[in-house]
Symmetry: C2
Subunit: 289 residues, 2 copies
C-alpha cells in the first residue's frame, strides 16, 4: 500500500506542477500534499486491479478524486463553514493563505479534476465513452447528490437534534459518495463490465459508511495530536455522531458489520484480484487516525 | 436572439429542476434564473450554427457554460472576494441565502456543469470524444488558466497601480476565456473541423476582450439602475479599467477595432451561417447594460 501511495503522490505531483499565479498554485499544492492517506486514489487503483485493468488507465481518475476531496476539505474548513484551523497537523488552507485564495484554490482544484480526467484518459488510451462516464460519476459525487448536499444538511443540523436517518444522509453524501465514486471510476476506466461496476459500487457503499463510523469513533478516543486535527470537536459542538446515537459499543459493532458486508461483495470476483480492496476495507476499519 | 434565449432558459430549467436539499436548489436557481443575458450559451449555439451542427447537440454545453458563469458570479460576489450586494438588480446570492449556502451553491453549479455535459451529450448522440474535449475546454476556462487565475490576480491588484498588461491578463482570464470556451465547445460538440474550431477561438478571443472593454465603459456612463448592479464602482475603488488607462475615446476606438477583428475571422466561413456570430459581436459592442 505504501508503494501505491507513492505512485499516487508522484502522479499528483506531475498533475499539478507549480505555475502562475504562483500563490494560487502554492495554496492548491499546500493542501494536496498535506500528507493525506490517499484512501480514495487507492480505492480507484484497487478497483482497477479487481477488474484486471492497467494501473496507468486508472491513475487519472485516482488523482482527480483526490483533487476533489482536497477541494472539499479546503471549503469545509472555511470560516463560513466549519471554521477549522487545524488539518492534518498544519494550519488549514485559509489560515495559511487567506480566505479568498483558499476558496479559489478549491474552485481551481475542482475544475482541474475534470480537466485531468478528460485530458489524461485520452492520453493513456482510455476509450472516450469510459472517461465520460467517469466524469459524470465523479461530478455527481460532488454536487446536489453528493458532497455539497451533505454539507448543506450538516450545516443546517448544527445544534439541532439529529436522528440516525439524517446522520446517515449527511455521511452518505459528505463521505461515502466520493469513496464510492473513486472505486466506481477506477472500475469504469479499466473496462469493468456493468455487473462488476455494480458490485464495486455496493462494496464501496459499505466502505464509505464504515469510513465515517470509524472517524466518529476516533474523534472520541484519540487526541488532537494523534489525529492531526482538533479532536473531541464532535462532543464539544454536541454534534450527532454514531457513538452518540448508538453508543460506543454499538458503533464498533456496526463497523464490524460493514466490513463483513463489504468483503461479502468481493466474493463474486476472482479471488486473487480482490486482495487490495479487502486490504483497504481492513485498513479503513482498523486505522488509528 | 430572443427566441434563442428562451430555448436556453427552457433547457436550463430542465437541467436544474428543484430537488432536495430544497434551500440549496433554490439558491442555485436564484442566481441561474436572475435574468442573465445568456451571452455565453448563445455563443455556443451560434458556433454550432456556424459549422452546420444540430442545435440539440450544442444545448448541453450552452447550459453548462451558463452554470459555470453563474458559479463565478456567486463566488466573486462573496464577502471575502468583491463583497457585492447587488447583482442584476437583486440582492446577491449570499445576501439572500447566507454565505455558506452561496459558496456551496457555486460548488454544486460547477460540478453540475460537467455532469450535464457528460450525461446530456451522451443522451443527444454527441460522440463521446467530442464531449470529452468539451469537458477539457470548459474546465480549463475555470481553473488555473481561466476564471480563478483572473480573480486571484484581480484581488492581488486591488489598490495597486495596474498596467495595461496586467489589466489584460485579468480580463482575458476572468471574462474572455469563458466566452471563448463557450464558442469553442459549441463548435466541438457540433463536429466542427479543427481549422474551424481555431477560427471560432480567434473570433471569440476578440469578442471576449470586447465584452470587458464595453463593460468598463458602461460602468462609467450608466447608472446603477440602468446596469442592475452598482455603477461607478470601478472609479470609487480606483480600479484599473480600459477608460482609465486609455481614456474614454481610446477605449471606444479599441472596442471598434475588436469588433472588426472578430468579424474578419468569420469571413472564411460560409456567409449565411456567420450571421448569428456577427450579430452577437454587435450585440456585445452596442449593448446598454
Amino acid at each position: 500500500m505504501a508503494s501505491k501511495a507513492m505512485t499516487v503522490n508522484e502522479a499528483l505531483d506531475r498533475a499539478l506542477p507549480l505555475g502562475h499565479p504562483e500563490r494560487l498554485f502554492e495554496s492548491m499544492r499546500y493542501s494536496l500534499f498535506a500528507g493525506g492517506k490517499r484512501v480514495r486514489p487507492m480505492l480507484a487503483l484497487a478497483a482497477c486491479e479487481l477488474v484486471g485493468g492497467d494501473e496507468a488507465a486508472a491513475l487519472p481518475v485516482a488523482c482527480a478524486v483526490e483533487m476533489v476531496h482536497t477541494m472539499s476539505l479546503i471549503h469545509d474548513d472555511l470560516p463560513c463553514m466549519d471554521d477549522d484551523h487545524l488539518r492534518r497537523g498544519r494550519p488549514t488552507n485559509h489560515v495559511a493563505f487567506g480566505v479568498s485564495t483558499a476558496l479559489l484554490a478549491g474552485d481551481a482544484l475542482l475544475a482541474r479534476a475534470f480537466e485531468h480526467v478528460a485530458r489524461e484518459c485520452t492520453e493513456h488510451g482510455v476509450p472516450a465513452d469510459r472517461a465520460l462516464r467517469a466524469v459524470a460519476e465523479l461530478a455527481s459525487a460532488v454536487g446536489t447528490d453528493g458532497l455539497v448536499a451533505g454539507q448543506v444538511v450538516d450545516l443546517a443540523s448544527e445544534g439541532a437534534d439529529v436522528d440516525l436517518a439524517t446522520l446517515e444522509y449527511i455521511h452518505v453524501h459528505k463521505t461515502a459518495r466520493l469513496l464510492e465514486a473513486a472505486a466506481v471510476c477506477g472500475g469504469i476506466v479499466s473496462g469493468g463490465a456493468d455487473e462488476e461496476i455494480e458490485g464495486i459500487r455496493r462494496y464501496a457503499r459499505y466502505v464509505g459508511l464504515l469510513f465515517q463510523v470509524v472517524d466518529d469513533v476516533l474523534d472520541v478516543t484519540r487526541t488532537s495530536e494523534q489525529l492531526g486535527k482538533t479532536a473531541g470537536k464532535d462532543i464539544a459542538t454536541d454534534k450527532a455522531t454514531y457513538p452518540k446515537l448508538m453508543g460506543m459499543d454499538g458503533a464498533r459493532a456496526y463497523a464490524a458489520e460493514l466490513v463483513a458486508s463489504a468483503e461479502a461483495e468481493l466474493d463474486r470476483f476472482d479471488g486473487t484480484r480482490t486482495e487490495p480492496l479487502r486490504h483497504l476495507a481492513h485498513f479503513i476499519a482498523y486505522r488509528q487516525h
